[in-house]
Amino acid sequence: MKTQFSVAKFDQKLQERWGEVMEEKKQCKGCGGALPFVIGFVAAVIAGWVLFPDLIYSKKTQPIRFSHKVHQEQGMECSSCHTFRDDGSYAGLPTNEKCMECHADVVGSDPDEAKYVEQYAKTGKEVPWLVYQYQPDNVIFSHKAHESFECKSCHPDMSKNDTPPVYYQNRLSGYSKQTMKMWQCERCHAENGVSNACHVCHK
């Protein structure tokens, strides 16, 4: 009996509620208009373009404030430190061995040089440089095949750079913000009539 009663009551309430909805609708006609929609739209656009990039990227700085400018002023070329090995593979960032040709001991007055000598050269630990052009494991890139291009056609021109730029890392994907995306590789390959077959770049 009790159940029946409450069911009936619920039923009644439901009916009332529908009535209210109808009422509300009538009251609301014209009120507010499109304004809330516009506010929501604009807020979302601002959040998406301004806040989102800040949220998705973490900022990191290089372990040593390495100045490409200073080295370039010494008359060094990119290829003085970024070399090819005998098998045609690319050595990429120089190791301690290379750096210590000059910096086995402190030779200048820059505190970061002293930091390098103390923390890395002396201990034999390699510097955990952050690679702006980071590519994941599934990519195989041959610098040898791209040797005819200038470094700066893909990399930022570092020769004038005194303080390494901030490293932005995508929190979700783990990629550097400057990681070249696949469409960029593909576009250049297409423009130059080079194969875009999967295995040309993937492993």
Binding site: T3, F10, D11, L14, W18, M22
Partner: protein, 409 residues
């Protein structure tokens, strides 16, 4: 207590009874949901699939429900394009069945792929040569069409329909339904065919491979025909099942018999070509690649009885039953034929999916067997439960059956 929400002028069971029923179904649904979450968490290693059987119950299930859901597009086509008025008595039901089948299939597909996070690659990086791409696009589009067809039905719910905007929206959608039905018929024909094409193009799988017309192997056309040969009658079976369950008459038998006639006609056309195709396959194609008919079968699990059941018992027999008016007009016989028909088409999908890849094509390889495990059954069961839930809600609250009031006076 939810009486206010019922369609105009019909009776429904008490809310308590309904809740009990829904709870019962929800239990199955939740069990399947658990399996689904486990699959997303651990990967499909929890299923019975393996290196030999990359496709199994799920793909069979998908193909079967898409074929059975074909009632929606074909009936829509007949009703809105060919303007067979009588079909309006059952058209709503075909739409709901279609919607359940397609949305369920899409959910199963998401589970079935190894990297669901990248499911959208199918749209972003499509391979235009792949039949599966065609399937992905057509199923998605057609699922949208089904939603568009389903929405006005929801909007016609007694209370919602009181809102003028929704009322008008529903009305306008109805007016243009012929357009959607046309689009739906086009899309659906293509992906039903593409599903067949998916197997027909497998040059490495002699059981499935077929020559064809232009880019479409014969299986493309056979799958379209078999789908329209079973979809309408499946809707009839669903309707009859609902009638038995609710104890109310929903659609008059005349309409059902008409659906049976439509299905029967298509099934007859299908089975004629299917037999021709099988004959040509066994006598021309197989010998041309150095294989024999006997090599395609193994033991009981993959025995010849499956093919004979599919083509004769569940193909030829229901086709004859459905095109013979005297048999068709007997309700028991109609339903029997319908059940056989649906089993036949499901079996066909199973054989093309599982048997085709069970056959050791390498002469030194051996037969492997496959049995779905609990996780596959549970998730497939979840989709069935989902279908029951949607159908129950639709039946209770939406004006699905225009004849219901009249028939239950």
């Amino acid at each position: 207590m939810d009486r206010a929400l019922f369609p105009e002028g019909v009776e429904r069971c008490s809310f308590g009874k309904f809740a009990l029923w829904m709870g019962f179904i929800t239990a199955f649904f939740l069990f399947g949901l658990f399996a689904m979450l486990l699959i997303f968490y651990k990967g499909i290693v929890v299923t019975g699939l393996d290196n030999y059987f990359g496709f199994g119950l799920w793909i069979t299930f998908d193909l079967a429900v898409i074929a059975l859901g074909a009632g929606a597009f074909f009936t829509g086509f007949l009703k809105y394009i060919l303007r067979i008025k009588q079909l309006e008595n059952i058209i709503n039901l075909t739409v709901i069945v279609g919607f359940i089948c397609y949305s369920g299939a899409m959910l199963v597909l998401t589970m079935d792929i190894g990297q669901p996070i990248r499911a959208w690659f199918g749209y972003w990086h499509p391979n235009v040569h792949s039949m599966l791409t065609e399937v992905i696009f057509c199923i998605t589009c057609y699922c949208l069409v089904l939603i568009i067809e389903y929405v006005p039905l929801i909007l016609e719910q007694k209370q919602l329909n009181k809102i003028p905007f929704l009322h008008h929206l529903a009305h306008n959608m109805h007016v243009n339904m012929a357009l959607f039905a046309g689009i739906g018929a086009f899309l659906s024909t293509f992906h039903q065919g593409s599903l067949g094409g998916m197997y027909g193009v497998l040059i490495g799988r002699p059981y499935a491979f077929r020559e064809g017309f232009f880019i479409w192997p014969w299986t493309f056309f056979l799958f379209v025909l078999s789908a329209v040969g079973c979809g309408p009658i499946f809707t009839v079976l669903v309707c009859t099942f609902m009638e038995k369950l609710t104890g109310r008459k929903l659609v008059d038998f005349k309409t059902k018999a008409l659906m049976g006639k439509i299905a029967g006609t298509m099934l007859t056309v299908y089975i004629f070509f299917k037999i021709l195709d099988t004959w040509a396959w066994a006598n021309n194609y197989l010998p041309s690649v150095g294989m024999t008919f006997d090599q395609m079968f193994y033991g009981v699990i993959y025995g010849k009885w499956l093919m004979f059941t599919e083509i004769i018992l569940c193909g030829l027999v229901p086709a004859i039953m459905l095109i013979t008016p005297s048999i068709r007009n007997n309700p028991t016989m109609l339903y029997t034929a319908g059940i056989l028909d649906c089993i036949g088409v499901t079996l066909n999908r199973y054989l093309f999916t599982v048997q085709a890849i069970a056959i050791p094509v390498l002469p030194f390889d051996s037969w492997q067997t496959y049995a779905p495990n609990w996780a596959e059954w549970a998730t497939s069961g979840m989709i069935v439960a989902y279908g029951f839930l949607v159908m129950s809600l639709s039946y209770r609250y939406l004006p699905v059956f225009p004849q219901e009031r009249m028939l239950n006076k």
